[in-house]
């Protein structure tokens, strides 16, 4: 994944609650066999509405998206993260995120920033006129108006995001531990493997 540290730019002030992954990318866009090109299908139904933030030239190409509570709920489709990356979004700011989406986002180098609703309300205001600055190293969101919000991030995820680390590569380096665990498990619970007949 692409490393990420500071992101500065305009933000889509979406603000909607319960943005589900069907809304981010509908099922008809899930039929591909590559990760590329999904930006064109992102938020398709919302974009059919006149005056939507995604087609407003003010926000075109914004690297930040601001949404309501429970962002990314629903399906496990990683296509939602791929679609966001493809449309240029690297940071999503919301009061809360679904568990599966935040994992998918992280694995694609998208930073999910959880902030309280009053901070979101303020950033939604700022986003209409000005850029927002996010710094992962210091875990802060700042605005040109001296607003400063700090956010939590899991230390392991932070390291991976800052370094653009390949998680599979990291885990494969622990093959010996996995093998030992696997052997002990096979001895202790022989009925577990092989599963297939």
């Amino acid at each position: 994944m692409e490393p990420i540290n500071t992101v500065e730019g305009r933000a889509y002030p979406l603000g909607v609650k319960n943005v589900d992954t069907d809304m981010i990318i509908a099922a008809k866009w899930l039929k591909g066999i590559t990760r590329a090109g999904l930006g064109q299908g992102a938020f398709e139904a919302l974009r059919a509405e006149p005056g939507n933030v995604f087609d407003d030239p003010t926000y075109k190409g914004s690297p930040i998206l601001i949404a309501g509570d429970n962002f990314g709920c629903g399906s496990s489709r990683e296509h939602a993260a791929w679609a966001l990356i493809d449309m240029g979004v690297r940071v999503v700011i919301a009061p809360s995120f679904s568990d599966i989406f935040s994992g998918n986002a992280f694995k694609n180098g998208i930073l999910t920033v959880a902030l309280p609703q009053d901070a979101i309300d303020r950033l939604m205001e700022v986003a209409k006129t000005d850029p927002i600055h996010i710094d992962l190293e210091s875990q802060t969101v700042t605005t040109p108006f001296q607003d400063r919000f700090t956010f939590e991030v899991d230390p392991f995820r932070k390291t991976c995001l800052l370094g653009g680390l390949d998680e599979i590569g990291l885990t494969l380096a622990r093959t010996d531990s996995i093998g030992a665990f696997e052997q002990a498990r096979a001895d202790d619970q022989p009925w577990l493997a092989p599963a297939l007949v």
Binding site: N18, D22, K28, R35, S75, S76, R77, S177, W191, A195
Partner: protein, 479 residues
Amino acid sequence: MTQPRTLYEKIWDAHIVERQADGTCLIYIDRHLVHEVTSPQAFEGLRMAGRRVRRPDLTLAVPDHNLPTTARVDAAGKRLPIADPESAQQLAALERNAPEFGVKYIGATDAEQGIVHVVGPEQGFTLPGTTLVCGDSHTAAHGALGALAFGIGTSEVEHVLATQTLLLKPSKTMEIRVEGQLGPGVTPKDVILHVIGVIGTAGGTGHVIEYRGTVFEEMSIEGRLTVSNMSIEGGARAGLFAPDDKTFAYLKGRPMAPKGADWDAAVAYWKSLVTDEGARFDKTVRIDAADIAPTVTWGTSPEDVVPISGVVPAPESFTDPSKRAAAEKALDYMGLTAGQRMEDVSVQHVFIGSCTNSRIEDLRAAAAIAKGRKVAPGIKQALIVPGSGLVKRQAEAEGLDRIFIEAGFEWREPGCSMCLAMNPDKVPAGERCASTSNRNFMGRQGPGARTHLVSPAMAAAAAVTGHLTDVRELTGVMA
């Protein structure tokens, strides 16, 4: 004396390969189900990096999302082509990737083919105390058998294929306790819809739910699968039921379940998989079974539930301004007005199927309503899509297919079908469907489609009356 632990904590602890200083754990995965939609990029990733599948013997691949539910072979037994080139390409990719990486593959025309979450339990691939993952959020279903089962994204699919592990932080625990006696006509689907209505779609975020109390103890395994399946609609990545005698009876003799001495050793271990007396849950929700009615959704989120005897709520009745706005938008999308009786809402489509409600008990419940009745004239399509080839065969042996066909339903081949409209089964824009699936999101069953989530019996009732119907009126048992 060790500290009392919840069922979740016992399974979690038994799968820790390594624990990092920040609490992130490398968790061993015992079972991995793979389908065609969320796996092509994962296999491609392995290929590009020159990696293999670590444990193909713990991995099972089944196509389900894209498959048409119409006949798959012609009269001569020859496989029929798939019209949609993108669906065909995705299905072909799985058919190619599985043998290339040595993964067992149940193909589109095999008798055992079906929805991954129906096939896993049915084959005995899903076992108590195991960790089970799949690139599909409804993997939560397998928690019905006491497996810690959850949906993962494609990067995680690739990670599991390559390493048989995942890097995870432990979840919080949530107990949902439903005590008492369910009223007539109230099914497991109504129970879970009611629960989601109580906790909300984010109520379980960050948690694993354990379902406890008399209602869940008395529930059949298939009913538990329906409940656990929709844990994700309450925000929880996984649901759990403690394995009991019903679980063991369900699994015994299944093709991939342990046999002989292995079986006895397994059962002895599985019996230890209960939440200890005195163990603490981070959250507890108590619900009285008597409060649960046959339930239906009115809006575009699974938490938008109301008893079938109720009315469409007024947006002004929500105090939270964002909920009020969401309700206004939902009513506009759904073409409903506040105060309208749910039973007055007419439907044009009925879908009985999906990983939530396509097992034999679901089909029996629907057939009991359909028997001797006819699909109403206003219904354009009423589909019955069994969850697997084996469910279909069982239903046919019981004569359920005849009941459905005589009533005017279409009897189809297994797959995900109209639950998410990736195959040709779609609800046209502006039309309304009584559906036994799990999500009523905007556009879920097709662009502009309007979904009402219901139980199989209620879906069959809607089919024969042409409108959302209190099934108790047809069976003559009012609470």
